[in-house]
Amino acid sequence: MMAIAFLLQTLRIAVPYLLAAAGGVLSERVGVIALGLEGLMLSGAFGAALGAYYGDSAWAGLAGALAAGAVMTTILAVATLRFRANQVVVGVAINLIVVAGTRYFLRLIFDSSSNSPRVAGFGGEGVGNAMLASFTNPVVWIGLVTLPALGWVLYRTPFGLRVRAIGEKPEAAVSLGVNVMRLRVLGLYIAGAMASLGGAYLALDQHQFTDGMTAGRGFIALAAVIFGRWQPARVAVACLLFAAAETLQIQLQGAQLVPSQFVEMIPYVLTIIALAGLVGRSTAPAALGKTE
């Protein structure tokens, strides 16, 4: 029973990582550094709360999240693809703009500096066990299938072949008649949708938006993308690994075996080690960051 509870909690914690990391893989595969994941997630969470509040249903919340994600993706795409602005700077700016923007609109719309009112979520009232109840949430299932689906698309479909081509050698893709710009824009919007769903999961699960509720999860997802070497299956394993460490930390809270700060560091330390090539080298898609 202990093991099942552990597994279920790990999966729950992993859902936002899996969604955002899927967005990260796709974004970086089409050549745009995924530094803005955190901001996209937070905008998704805010959009979800807004949609669920006004539409009074969790589905309206999902629509709100996708809309908010699309707005932020438009800014990202116009700046990096149309104007070829530096991707690192744009990514940092997206995160800043969402943190400040959600606080501003929180006060404008809900007249609060910390959280939205309680909003609709995905029921699960009929299920007795609270842990199982959260699995009636469709976003959980979307999260669990996203990375395997992305892996299938990347390696088994013509679309995926083109995406991998523009990630490694856009010139070659151009010479074969691929519309690189269109594919990049499309990839960014799908990536933005995935990341914003990751944020929506948080808001709908807690039935409200709270200031800064993503709390660095976008960066943990980015760490999973790099640690998983941009390959969906490996990235999914990385997300589950990071989530399992977090679950262990929560369940052992009383024992105080390892300070929580050290558990928090795990994803980042592993990523740096992977980047330095100390344990199997992780190499970015060749065209990453070069959208000229």
Partner: protein, 381 residues
């Protein structure tokens, strides 16, 4: 006849090259500020307030009284340091997104030494020691991504971001378990190394946080300028940033330049930590950096990676940051945070666009000149 006309063309071309450079530097920030002003107006109107009233309040709360000026100068000090940090690495072609962690680490280094030194130690000795401790700690944190980049080719962007989380978590752990006063996340007061506040010299600033570290930050800007544009190392650093392969061919040891410039960048960010620890509070407090490291990116961007531009741009962003507090009564203070992010986004977007437009204009001018020259030369022969 072709002689004078050719030299005339060359003269006007070199003139246009200088103007071009100036325009390339100044136009993007100007465009960005205009865009930010428009968006700011819209946001203020969405809150049902008058933009003129809000901006008037913003100016009054910052430059309108000595306390406001003091607070702006205090924020300018930290932002100058983190802006210089980003710019120095940027000149070497590297992105130091880790100023936030380096800033915090620098402050912690200064506080740790300040706690270790005996309390009777004269400031003339204690202050330089604590400042050195801050810069060395910052340099240590900055050197890690530099070495990983130089030695293994690991992306310094990702490593600096990840290192921010690691450093901040580590500092949080050290302070919360070993060094804190009960019920707080701050260290005890340091024994030696505190610096005077501006209010100690000019009583009008009383209550504001501005302090003598402002002078250190200005000195750091001057030193950075001298290093970048008047020394051989600075020349090598800029050469690596512009064209690493050519620099390598010219005999520059590129990996060494990479990690030393990252270490130096970290040292500058670490110096910023002194502002809070030695100048303002006299102790280290968890979370004091509060985003000033990331704001350094905005400062460097608008200051166009030039040390003197950075001081001016730090003043601008410090005014916005303090101004947010001043207007908070009628519009949320996040208004100015949004504007800051909009400025970053617009400058980043405007830089390549302005470059393209200006170069296209210059190229067509040059082409016209060459054509004119050829026709006149043809007539002469």
């Amino acid at each position: 006849m072709s002689g004078p006309s050719a030299s005339g063309a060359a003269g006007s071309a070199s003139l246009s090259a200088t103007t071009l450079r100036a325009l390339e530097a100044v136009l993007p920030p100007v465009v960005a500020l205009c865009i930010a002003a428009v968006i700011g107006d819209l946001l203020i109107l969405s809150f049902g307030e008058s933009p003129a009233a809000v901006y008037a309040l913003l100016i009054k709360g910052t430059w309108g009284n000595p306390y406001g000026i003091g607070q702006v100068l205090y924020k300018t000090t930290t932002l100058t340091c983190t802006g210089l940090a980003f710019a120095l690495a940027g000149r070497a072609g590297l992105f130091n997104v880790g100023a936030e962690g380096q800033l915090a680490a620098g402050g912690f280094g200064a506080a740790l030494l300040g706690l270790a030194l005996p309390s009777g130690l004269p400031g003339l000795l204690a202050v330089p020691l604590c400042v050195m401790a801050a810069m060395l700690t910052g340099a240590g944190v900055g050197a890690v991504p530099g070495v990983l980049r130089a030695r293994f080719g690991a992306s310094e962007v990702i490593v600096t971001i990840m290192l921010n989380f690691i450093v901040l978590a580590l500092l949080n752990w050290v302070v919360s378990t070993h060094l804190h006063l009960p019920e707080t996340l701050r260290t005890p007061d340091i024994h030696a190394g505190t610096l005077p506040r501006l209010a100690d010299w000019f009583a009008v600033f009383s209550g504001s946080a501005a302090n003598a570290v402002l002078l250190l930050a200005l000195a750091a800007a001057a030193a950075s300028w001298w290093l970048l544009f008047r020394t051989r190392s600075g020349y090598e650093l800029r050469a690596v940033g512009l064209q690493p392969d050519a620099a390598e061919y010219g005999g520059v040891h590129v990996p060494r330049v990479m990690w030393t410039s990252m270490a130096l960048s970290g040292a500058l960010a670490g110096l910023g930590g002194v502002n809070f620890v030695l100048g303002y509070k006299g102790y280290y407090e968890d979370g004091f950096a509060g985003g000033a490291g990331f704001l350094g990116i905005a400062v460097a961007l608008v200051g166009r990676n030039h040390p003197f531009g950075i001081v001016l741009s730090a003043l601008l962003f410090a005014t916005l940051s303090q101004g947010g507090l001043a207007v908070n009564a009628i519009v949320p203070k996040q208004l100015t945070d949004i504007l800051t992010a909009v400025v970053i986004l617009s400058v980043a977007t405007a830089v390549p666009e302005v470059q393209r437009q200006l170069r296209a204009a210059a190229a067509s001018t040059m082409a016209a000149l060459t054509r004119a020259q050829q026709t006149s030369g043809g007539r002469a022969s």
